[in-house]
């Protein structure tokens, strides 16, 4: 799987048109990642397009390190979102209700598994976390990234990320039991 992805990256380095395969593969993930942090659709599209454009223009500097190419895309998206919030002076918002109006064709939703109270509860708990803890929870359980990938995205060590995941979960558990 990773070998195939590495070949795609090497091909994209030689031919920009080959980047289309990587775009198609990771667009949804990056879109959801950005969408969870910035609920405005126009801004989300701007940030996502900027993320892929940056990736395409700097792909020659990318060094394959043995884990998924998506980590690099997440890192670019993470920096773009932070830059956007810094430029616009806004707080990060979490709005899980957004997007429910249009059914997601790519996510298998098991309706009825989680009640609306549960969603509101998770929403409330996430907003009480520190920004870094909230980012780690999102990457770990919503993006399903490994500790190494989270470490690559956030610029920390994998062991440090493990400790932070534990502390964030502990905090979420405490907030949920309150």
């Amino acid at each position: 799987m990773l070998e195939q992805e590495q070949k795609m990256v090497e091909e994209a380095k030689k031919n920009p048109q080959a980047f289309a395969a990587l775009y198609d593969k990771y667009f949804d993930q990056i879109y959801r990642y950005v969408y969870r942090r910035c609920s405005d659709k126009a801004t989300v599209y701007d940030l996502v397009s900027q993320t892929f454009y940056d990736a395409l223009t700097h792909i020659k500097n990318y060094e394959w390190r043995g884990y998924s190419f998506s980590s690099w895309l997440y890192k670019i998206a993470h920096n773009n979102v932070l830059k956007w919030y810094r430029d616009h002076g806004r707080m990060q918002m979490t709005d899980l209700e957004e997007g429910q109006e249009i059914p997601d064709l790519h996510v298998n939703i098991s309706k009825g598994a989680v009640t609306k109270e549960d969603k509101d509860e998770i929403q409330a708990v996430l907003t009480k976390l520190e920004p870094e803890e909230r980012e780690i929870i999102r990457l770990k359980f919503f993006e399903e990234a490994s500790n190494i990938e989270i470490a690559e995205i956030m610029g920390l060590s994998a062991n440090h990320i493990g400790v932070k995941v534990f502390r964030a979960l502990k905090k979420v558990k405490q907030l949920l039991t309150q």
């Binding site: 980047f19 397009s49 997601d104 996510v107 989680v114 770990k140």
Partner: protein, 379 residues
């Protein structure tokens, strides 16, 4: 510590995953396709621009990237360059750092030929430093001598034994030309004042006939020589050697003044005498020098293996006499002319300590008569 995937966190993780599944983020595929087309078109144009011409922005970006990648290696280059510059500068430094160390510049042959080629570690200023030998601070006197001077072997002088019993021991004044310069190409170094030449006759030999003297023909090679001792001059005019002998006994020593440098063969020709350069650093007149040599220097150098004498005048008109011996030792004595007797008296430098009522310490340094007993603060 519970692991994040343990049962301890299972309810929390389950709720988080369920919340993710509950998300219904809709992605507009048309927008996605349009974005892809725009990005690739934009990136393709950029790639096309890159292929067609020189992109200065990308060039700068690449240069910065290369510099950032090798910044530590590049930082070594100026450091090494600086070290090389310092090393080269140190190697070309004209001044010997260890200036206080004796610098032997006289070869054994030169030492044998010239007994006056003394090397000293005296403090000399830059003007006195031999410019032909940068870095070497030698005795200033040799700096004016040409190199051929040291290569000159002493001449074997034929002694005229007939003159030994008939002629006095002093050197007859000879009116010859100006001092002959050995080398035609004299160095351009500043010429230091020439020392006075003091001919010393040991006391045990003063009552005897001179043992040997120089041939007149050889003495003619001497530089301009004059007899300054009036007593000797008067005796020299006498034809009778016996009267000359009596005159010699009345004087403690003979002085011959010259404006040239001491010549080695003179000493060899007159072994019963010692040639002693006297260097003056004072404003003494010629008469004062003569009197000082008679009164002071003669007593200091008597029966001693003296190399040369340095005389300088300091504060309070105190004259310091430094007698340098051939074994390297030195003797320093102070003299001051008496107020009424007009004679040279030896003085010493003492430091007295005074304490006032508040026990404040006040030193007082001055010269006193050498026989003054100034216990316990005698210096």
């Amino acid at each position: 510590m519970a692991r994040p995937n343990s049962r301890y966190f299972a309810p929390v993780i389950k709720k988080l995953l369920e919340a993710k599944r509950q998300e219904s983020i809709v992605i507009d595929q048309n927008l996605k396709a349009n974005l892809r087309a725009n990005i690739l078109t934009k990136a393709g144009g950029t790639a096309l621009q890159t292929g067609q011409g020189f992109d200065f922005g990308r060039f700068i970006e690449g240069a910065i990237g290369i510099f950032g990648k090798f910044r530590y290696q590049l930082a070594v280059v100026p450091s090494l360059l600086l070290l090389v510059i310092v090393a080269v500068s140190a190697m070309r430094m004209p001044v010997n750092i260890k200036s206080d160390v004796l610098v032997p510049v006289v070869t054994p042959q030169q030492k044998a030929d010239n007994t006056f080629a003394q090397v000293e570690s005296v403090q000399v200023n830059s003007a006195q430093t031999d410019s032909a030998q940068p870095g070497l601070k030698t005795f200033a006197g040799r700096s004016v001598l040409p190199s051929s001077y040291f290569e000159k072997a002493p001449e074997k002088i034929q002694f005229n034994t007939d003159l030994l019993l008939s002629e006095p021991a002093y050197v007859e004044p000879v009116n010859v030309q100006a001092p002959k310069i050995v080398s035609a190409s004299a160095p351009a170094t500043p010429v230091l004042p020439a020392p006075r030449i003091y001919y010393y006759v040991p006391e045990e030999l003063q009552n005897e006939e001179p043992v040997v003297t120089a041939d007149v023909t050889e003495v003619r090679n001497l530089p301009q020589v004059q007899v300054t001792n009036d007593a000797l001059r008067s005796q020299a005019e006498l034809p009778n050697p016996a009267q000359t002998e009596a005159a010699q006994k009345s004087t403690a020593s003979d002085y011959v003044r010259t404006e040239a440098r001491p010549e080695l063969f003179v000493m060899q020709a007159v072994p019963a005498r010692q040639i002693l350069p006297i260097y003056y650093n004072s404003d003494f007149s010629e008469d004062e020098k003569t009197v000082f040599e008679q009164d002071v220097v003669a007593g200091l150098v008597a029966d001693k293996d003296v190399s040369y004498v340095s005389i300088s005048i300091g504060s309070d008109r105190v004259v310091s006499v430094e007698v340098y011996f051939n074994d390297g030792s030195k003797e320093l004595k102070y003299f001051r002319k008496g107020a009424d007797s007009n004679a040279w008296n030896q003085v010493k430098y003492v430091e007295n300590y005074y304490y006032d009522d508040s026990l404040r310490y006040e030193p007082s340094m001055h010269y006193v008569d050498y026989n003054t007993y100034d216990y316990p603060y005698e210096y």
